[in-house]
Amino acid sequence: MRSVRLNFSKTGRAIYISHLDVNRMMTRAVRRAQLPMWYTEGFNPHPYIAFALPLSLGQESDCEYMDIRIEGDMTDEEIKTRLNETLPEGIKILSIGAPVHDAKDIAAAQYFVKIVFETEDDASLFCKKADELMNGAELMAEKPGKKGHRKIMKQVNLIELIFDKKLTCTGNIVNLQCSLAAGNTQNLNPTLLVETIENCAQIYHKQLYVVRKKLITKNNEIFR
C-alpha cells in the first residue's frame, strides 16, 4: 500500500460542485478507472480518499489535492491517464506524485480575483478604496466562529490575514492578485475580502471570478 497525491483543477461547470460532492464524485471515478485501491477495513469498506483544503462553491482552482492509497504496482502515469479518461467536464488531474507536505502545514493560498463592475468609474473608485483599506492597519469583518461548541459571529481584522496583494484596474475590471491566510487555524476567503471592501466603499460588483492558483506551506514552499 502506498499513498499517492493527485493535483487537479476545477473549472467551468465543475465549479458548482461542492466539496462534499467532489469527494463522492472521486470515489466513483476511482472505481470507474479501476484503480487498485486500498480499502478501509470494517463493516462498510470504502476506498481511502482525502482532500487537502476545501474550495468554496463557485471558485475555480488549479491547486486541488487528493490523496489516495493504492495497492499493487500501477504506475503514477497510468493512474493519471485512467482517471482523466473518466472524470466529468471541468475536473482534470494535472500532476501526480508521492505526498511531500502534510495538509496541516498549509498556511496560505494564492488567488487571482477578477471583479467586474458596471462602469469604469466604479472600478477605479473601488480600486482606490481597496488600496487604501488593504494598506491600513485595520479592516474588520464578521466571520462565523466557535466558542466552545457554540456557533457565534466574531470580529476579525482581515489585514492580519492578507500576506500579499497586487491591485490593477483596466476599464471596468479590477484584478486582485493576493496571498491570503489558508488552512485549519486561520483562513480568509477572497470573496469575504472583496465584499468587505465593497461594503466600505458602497460600490458593488456585477460579476466576481475567483481562481485559486497555489497553496503555500508555513515554510513558504509550494504545497505538493
Partner: protein, 616 residues
C-alpha cells in the same frame, strides 16, 4: 455554454450543481447536426428527477439517434425561480444551456398527480403558452407520458399529445413523426392528425366530452378521424428494448444514486388497490443474462457501488435465483451491494436473505398493506399473517433488528377493527422478536409502521370506490395511534389533505384544467412537498370555479357510468375490473397469474403472450 446571465444567478442560489449539467455521461451534441431537439422535463427537483429510471431510458432512446438530441430539464427550486423571474432568464435545458421554448418537443413525465401544477409552472418559466390551443405552430409540441397519462384528463387542455404505455415505443416514433412533418412544413393540426393514427398517441383535443346534468359524463366523441379508443403502446420483448449502457452520474447527491436494472414489467399479483399492477400488464420478463450484462456495463461506466434490481415485485422474477448467484460472483469481489426493493413476505427465502447480507446490509421493508386477513383478502394481497411471521423470523434470526412495514388505511370495506389490526400485527412482530432464542443480542427491536392513505386510481378494481373523507381518514389515523401500546413500534402517516387532492386529480375529468390553472396562479406548486403544499389555495380555486372536489374523490360511481378514462385502453378489460370489484366486496381472493390466469385480457396487446404463463 451557460450564458453570463445564468452564471450570475447560479451563485445566488442553493445547490447550483442542480442547474448546470456537465455530469459524466450526459450527452452533448451540436445543435446544427440534429433535426429534432427534445426537452425532457421532470416536473420536480433535480434530486428527484435524476432518480427516475424512465428518464434514463428515454434519454438513451432519443440520443441513440443521430438526428435528435434529448436534454434534461427539472423544476427549479423556489430560490432559483425567483432569480430567473427577476432577471428574465427563461427555463433552460441542462446540456446546452439553451432556452427550451425554441425546442421542437417539450415532454413531461407525469409520475404523480401532485406534480401537475409544476408542469404549468415550468411551461410558464419557459415562456411557452400554457394552453394547447394557444400554441398554434408546429414547435414546440408539448407531450406527456408516465403513469398519470392513463387519466390525463385534468391536464387535457394543456398537453398536445399524451403518450400511453411504454415510452420506448412512442418516443422513438414521436421523434420520427416530428422530423417528417418539420421537413414537410406541416401545420400543427396536420401533424396531430397524423400522430393520432399511431398506437399510444392520445390527442385530447380530438375528443369532445359532453356532460349530464348530474355532472357525470354523457358521451366522449372522437373527431378528426382519431380512434374511438386509444390503445397503449408496449415493448413486446424486454430483451430487445433499449436500455442505457451509461447512466448520467449526478455530480451532486440525488435520492436514488445507483445502478437500476429493470428485471420485468408488469405484475402477476393483481392487488386490487395497485394501479401499477394493472397499468403495466402484460408481464414481460427480461432474461437474467441480459440483466446481468446490463448491470455489469452500467457499473463499469458509472462507478456506482450499488445495484437495485427493480420491478413491481422483485421476488416474483422467475430468474431471480440464477441471476443473484451469477451476479454475486463479481459484485462481492468488487464490493458492490445488491438491493432488492419490492420483496413479498410469502416468498422471501433464507437463501435470498443470505445473499442480501453479503456486502452491506440494507434495511428490510415488507408491505402487508392491511391489518386483518379479511381486509387483505378484500384487496387481494394474498399474504397471510403466517407469511409475515415466518419472514420476520428469518430476518431476526439473520441479524436484522429493524423492519419496516407498509400499510394503507382507508381501503374499501375497511372498519376500525381492521385499523386496530395494523397495530396488533405490529405488536405480534415485536413479540416474535423476543420469543426467538437466536435473536440478535444487545439490541432492541424497532418496527416502523408506515400507514399511508389509500387513493382509488383509474384502471384498478377500486376505480369506482369512494375515497374515505378526510374526517374518516383522520379518525382512523387516531384510532391506529391509540391502538399502539409500545415504544418499539413507530407509526408514520400521511397528511389527509394531500391524499384528498391526489384523489381528486387521479380520477378527475378535463373540467379540472381550469382549477389547476387557477391554483397555480394562486401560487400552488411542488404540491407533493408537505412544506409547500397549499391546501387552502386549492380549495379557493375549486370554490371560484364552482367545482366540487368531493364529486371526484368521495363519490361512488356506478359500473355503467362513463369514466373520464374509458376511451383509453390499457389492455385490462372493464368486465375483469368489475368482477374483481365484486369479489373485493365479498372478501374473495383471486389467485396470482402464475397459479391461474385471471383473464384480464391484457395479453391481447402482446399477441396473446404473457410471461406470467409462459415462464410459470
Amino acid at each position: 455554454m451557460l450564458s453570463e446571465k445564468i452564471q450570475k444567478i447560479l451563485l445566488e442560489v442553493q445547490k447550483p450543481g442542480r442547474y448546470v449539467g456537465g455530469e459524466l455521461n450526459s450527452v452533448v451534441k451540436n445543435k446544427d447536426d440534429v433535426a429534432v431537439r427534445y426537452a425532457f422535463c421532470f416536473p420536480d427537483t433535480y434530486e428527484i428527477g435524476m432518480s427516475h429510471l424512465g428518464m434514463k431510458i428515454l434519454y438513451s432512446v432519443v440520443n441513440n439517434r443521430d438526428d435528435a438530441w434529448c436534454e434534461r430539464v427539472f423544476a427549479p427550486d423556489n430560490d432559483m425561480e425567483e432569480k430567473m423571474r427577476e432577471n428574465n432568464v427563461p427555463l433552460w435545458a441542462l446540456e446546452s444551456g439553451d432556452s427550451i421554448k425554441d425546442f421542437d418537443l417539450i415532454g413531461f413525465t407525469l409520475q404523480y398527480e401532485l406534480s401537475f401544477s409544476n408542469v404549468l409552472n415550468m411551461l410558464d418559466l419557459a415562456g411557452v403558452p400554457l394552453y394547447s390551443k394557444d400554441r398554434t405552430s408546429l414547435a414546440p409540441i408539448v407531450v406527456a407520458g408516465g403513469p398519470c397519462a392513463c387519466n390525463a384528463e385534468p391536464m387535457a387542455d394543456f398537453i398536445d399529445i399524451f403518450l400511453l404505455g411504454d415510452g420506448e415505443e412512442t418516443t422513438d416514433l414521436l421523434i420520427s413523426l416530428v422530423k417528417k412533418h418539420k421537413e414537410f412544413g406541416s401545420s400543427k393540426i396536420d401533424f396531430l392528425r397524423d400522430a393520432a393514427q399511431h398506437k399510444g398517441f392520445y390527442i385530447p383535443a380530438f375528443y369532445d366530452v359532453e356532460y349530464k346534468a348530474d355532472g357525470t359524463i354523457a358521451s366522449v366523441t372522437a373527431k378528426e378521424n382519431a380512434p374511438e379508443k386509444v390503445e397503449k403502446a408496449i415493448v413486446s420483448d424486454m430483451d430487445k428494448a433499449v436500455y442505457p449502457e451509461k447512466f448520467i452520474v449526478p455530480s451532486i447527491e440525488v435520492v436514488h444514486d445507483r445502478v437500476t436494472a429493470e428485471i420485468f414489467r408488469g405484475c402477476i399479483r393483481g392487488c386490487r388497490f395497485c394501479q401499477a399492477g394493472f397499468l403495466y400488464r402484460p408481464i414481460r420478463e427480461k432474461s437474467p443474462e441480459v440483466v446481468e450484462e446490463q448491470c455489469k456495463k452500467l457499473c463499469e461506466t458509472s462507478g456506482y457501488d450499488e445495484i437495485s434490481l427493480c420491478s413491481l415485485s422483485t421476488s416474483d422474477y422467475t430468474g431471480l435465483q440464477p441471476l443473484l448467484n451469477s451476479m454475486l460472483d463479481w459484485t462481492t469481489k468488487e464490493k458492490i451491494n445488491i438491493a432488492l426493493p419490492s420483496l413479498r413476505v410469502d416468498n422471501f427465502s433464507d437463501e435470498l436473505m443470505e445473499k442480501l447480507a453479503v456486502v452491506r446490509r440494507s434495511s428490510l421493508t415488507f408491505a402487508p398493506e392491511a391489518g386483518t386477513q379479511r381486509l387483505r383478502d378484500a384487496i387481494n394481497k394474498n399474504v397471510t399473517e403466517a407469511d409475515v411471521m415466518s419472514t420476520v423470523d428469518k430476518a431476526f434470526s439473520g441479524g436484522w433488528t429493524a423492519v419496516k412495514l407498509y400499510f394503507m388505511i382507508g381501503l374499501p370495506t375497511e372498519t376500525l377493527d381492521d385499523v386496530a389490526g395494523i397495530a396488533q400485527l405490529g405488536q405480534r412482530v415485536v413479540d416474535e422478536f423476543y420469543r426467538l432464542p437466536d435473536r440478535p443480542k444487545g439490541k432492541g427491536v424497532q418496527v416502523s409502521i408506515s400507514a399511508s392513505s389509500f387513493v382509488p386510481k383509474p384502471f384498478t378494481p377500486f376505480q369506482w370506490e369512494p375515497q374515505d373523507t378526510q374526517e374518516m381518514l383522520a379518525e382512523k389515523q387516531q384510532h391506529l395511534m391509540a391502538s399502539v401500546t409500545t415504544k418499539k413500534i413507530k407509526i408514520s402517516t400521511h397528511t389527509t389533505q394531500t391524499s384528498f387532492m391526489e384523489g381528486v386529480l387521479a380520477r378527475g375529468d378535463r373540467r379540472l384544467s381550469k382549477v389547476i390553472e387557477l391554483a397555480w396562479k394562486k401560487g400552488c406548486k411542488f404540491d407533493s412537498w408537505d412544506d409547500q403544499f397549499k391546501y387552502d389555495k386549492w380549495m379557493e380555486a375549486f370554490e371560484e370555479t364552482g367545482i366540487d372536489p368531493s364529486f371526484y374523490a368521495n363519490r361512488r360511481r356506478d359500473y355503467d357510468e362513463i369514466l373520464p378514462w374509458d376511451h383509453l385502453d390499457y389492455g385490462v378489460s372493464k368486465s375483469f375490473l368489475i368482477n374483481e370489484n365484486k369479489k373485493a366486496h365479498e372478501s374473495v381472493t383471486t389467485p396470482h397469474c402464475r397459479i391461474k390466469c385471471a383473464g384480464c385480457s391484457s395479453n391481447k396487446l402482446n399477441g396473446g403472450k404473457c410471461d406470467a404463463l409462459s415462464k410459470a
